[in-house]
């Protein structure tokens, strides 16, 4: 069963990425987490995302395409990256999600991957 671990981070977390004093431990935490998922044989895929100010939203409205640049609404936590893991059950997935650095600094969401009809 595949689950997606969505890692939400605060503005302070995103700021750690470029802070000379904090970048080391920040990246060490995330790469250790990813490597541990791989070594445990549960890692399927994943990616880190640039901060929300690098984002753009596309919509097709009555006037055709519109593009809105980020950052968007004032939300405390923004998606910072995700992992797809393959584990026997939801509880195991939650156990792995608890180990994501975002679980202690902000929050981590776990969602079962949708099985497309016919697959």
């Amino acid at each position: 069963m595949q689950y997606t671990i969505l890692c939400y981070e605060t503005a302070a977390d995103f700021a750690c990425r470029a802070d000379p004093d904090k970048a080391g431990p920040y990246w060490a935490g995330w790469s250790a987490y990813g490597a541990t998922l791989a070594q445990a044989g549960v890692f399927v895929s994943g990616a880190g995302l640039l901060p929300p100010d690098a984002a753009a939203i596309v919509r097709i409205g009555p006037l055709g395409r519109s593009v809105q640049d980020g950052p968007f609404a004032e939300v405390k936590e923004q998606l910072g990256g995700f992992f797809v893991i393959d584990v026997p059950d939801l509880e195991t997935a939650l156990d792995w999600a608890a180990k994501a650095p975002s679980s202690s600094s902000a929050s981590t969401e776990v969602r079962p991957v949708l099985q497309m009809p016919g697959e």
């Binding site: 080391g24 935490g29 250790a32 156990d95 608890a98």
Partner: protein, 397 residues
């Protein structure tokens, strides 16, 4: 002024087990007592911010919980299911509002009923007495939360089906059930210690709850040395709390002048009392190990040879994965990294056991192994405590 939510949480922490013990003692249905109590706390969170905290918050919660229990049961159809509520209403008339006698120990002993599978007893006790979720408890037993949750539900159904009374057992029944109760109290204390003080107040509270239960248990089983040894063990760990601060500091690097000497003295006394019975047990060995560490405050050095003997004895008497990893840590100090790694290699089921990888990384570092960062990274990837993670990340960097 602290918020109502914070105060409610405080009441929940200090009263949960006592209220549950009281409810379960009357209804003999653990699962529905837990549900009723959970609903009562939910009602408190909704009501108290408007009305303020009642003068007797426990009485308020108890009243709502009993009403909830009645409402839940009213929806069930069979007369059999309604029995606990009738029982409860009946005892209400007999004795109006109780003075909240302490049922926590009774609850613990009920969980050690022979009909409950031995491996389920400790987690069951942690859940009912400390209100911990299966997710919180499962990692401490190297189990998945799902498997544990199922076992706990089955156990509660079992107790209900057998109509087990939540009373303190007769003195003759206490001794055989003591090991399971000791283990649960110890597990509660250990869950509290794993957390750095200040980072999660709910967890440090577990240690004080465990301290209370250990002292109460000595009153109940005065002849047995192990409750005294458990008390010593909890006190030794409590003595070191001031040296841990907000960041993670390993035992060997702690400033011993910050250790609480009066708690160490109380622990020494409890361990000496335990030794008088002349019957060696698991908790006496564990407390003795901590007394050797505490000695460093006086002598300035750790007696590793004594620790090796005690760890070996403990692993013979009560082999566990955690105990084996702890013994391998002493091997590292006594015989160096190669012997330590050999000991670690022989352990089964350690793929996701964080302390195993932390020790493995340290042994590899001392051996000059170039693959050390990989093991350290695995220890970091498996760590959940932010303070511990920060400490490991600093070593990796």
């Amino acid at each position: 002024m602290t918020s109502v939510a914070t105060q409610t949480e405080q009441v929940a922490r200090t009263s949960y087990a006592r209220l549950l013990g009281l409810l379960a003692a009357r209804t003999r249905d653990l699962a529905s007592a837990e549900d009723a109590l959970a609903d009562a706390f939910r009602a408190a969170l909704e009501t108290w911010p408007r009305t303020g905290i009642p003068d007797r918050p426990e009485a308020w919660l108890m009243t709502v919980a009993k009403r909830n229990h009645g409402a839940t049961r009213a929806r069930t159809r069979t007369a059999r299911d309604a029995l606990p509520t009738l029982f409860l209403l009946h005892s209400d008339q007999a004795a109006p509002m109780p003075a909240f006698p302490d049922h926590r120990l009774a609850l613990l002993f009920a969980c050690t009923h022979p009909a409950i599978d031995a491996a389920t007893q400790t987690p069951l006790m942690l859940q009912v007495v400390l209100g911990l979720s299966a997710e919180r408890i499962a990692p401490a037993f190297l189990m998945t939360a799902a498997a544990l949750g199922q076992r706990l539900s089955r156990a509660k159904a079992r107790l209900k089906a057998l109509n087990v009374a939540f009373d303190i057992p007769d003195p003759a029944d206490i001794t055989p059930r003591l090991p399971a109760v000791l283990e649960a109290i110890h597990a509660a204390a250990a869950l509290g210690w794993e957390t750095v003080p200040g980072s999660d107040p709910a967890r440090t509270d577990l240690s004080s709850e465990a301290l209370y239960l250990a002292e109460a248990l000595i009153g109940l089983a005065a002849e047995d040395p192990e409750p005294k040894a458990l008390l010593a063990l909890i006190l030794y760990s409590a003595a070191r709390v001031p040296a841990r601060k907000v960041t993670y500091i390993p035992l060997s690097e702690q400033d011993t002048t910050l250790w609480d000497k009066s708690l160490i003295a109380r622990a020494d006394q409890a361990l000496t009392d335990a030794a008088r019975a002349n019957r060696l047990g698991r908790f006496q060995l564990m407390a003795a190990i901590q007394s050797v560490h505490a000695e460093r405050a006086r002598t300035g050095r750790t007696n590793w040879a004594a620790l090796e003997t005690l760890h070996a004895a403990l692993n013979r008497l009560h082999p566990t994965v955690g105990g084996s990893v702890a013994a391998a840590a002493v091997t590292l100090e006594c015989h160096g990294p190669t012997a330590c790694l050999r000991a670690l290699d022989s352990l089964p089921d350690t793929a996701t056991y964080q302390p195993y990888w932390a020790l493995r990384a340290e042994a590899m570092r001392r051996a000059g192994n170039p693959d050390t960062p990989a093991a350290l990274s695995r220890a970091l990837g498996l760590a959940e405590d932010p303070a511990l993670r920060a400490w490991l990340a600093a070593r990796l960097g």
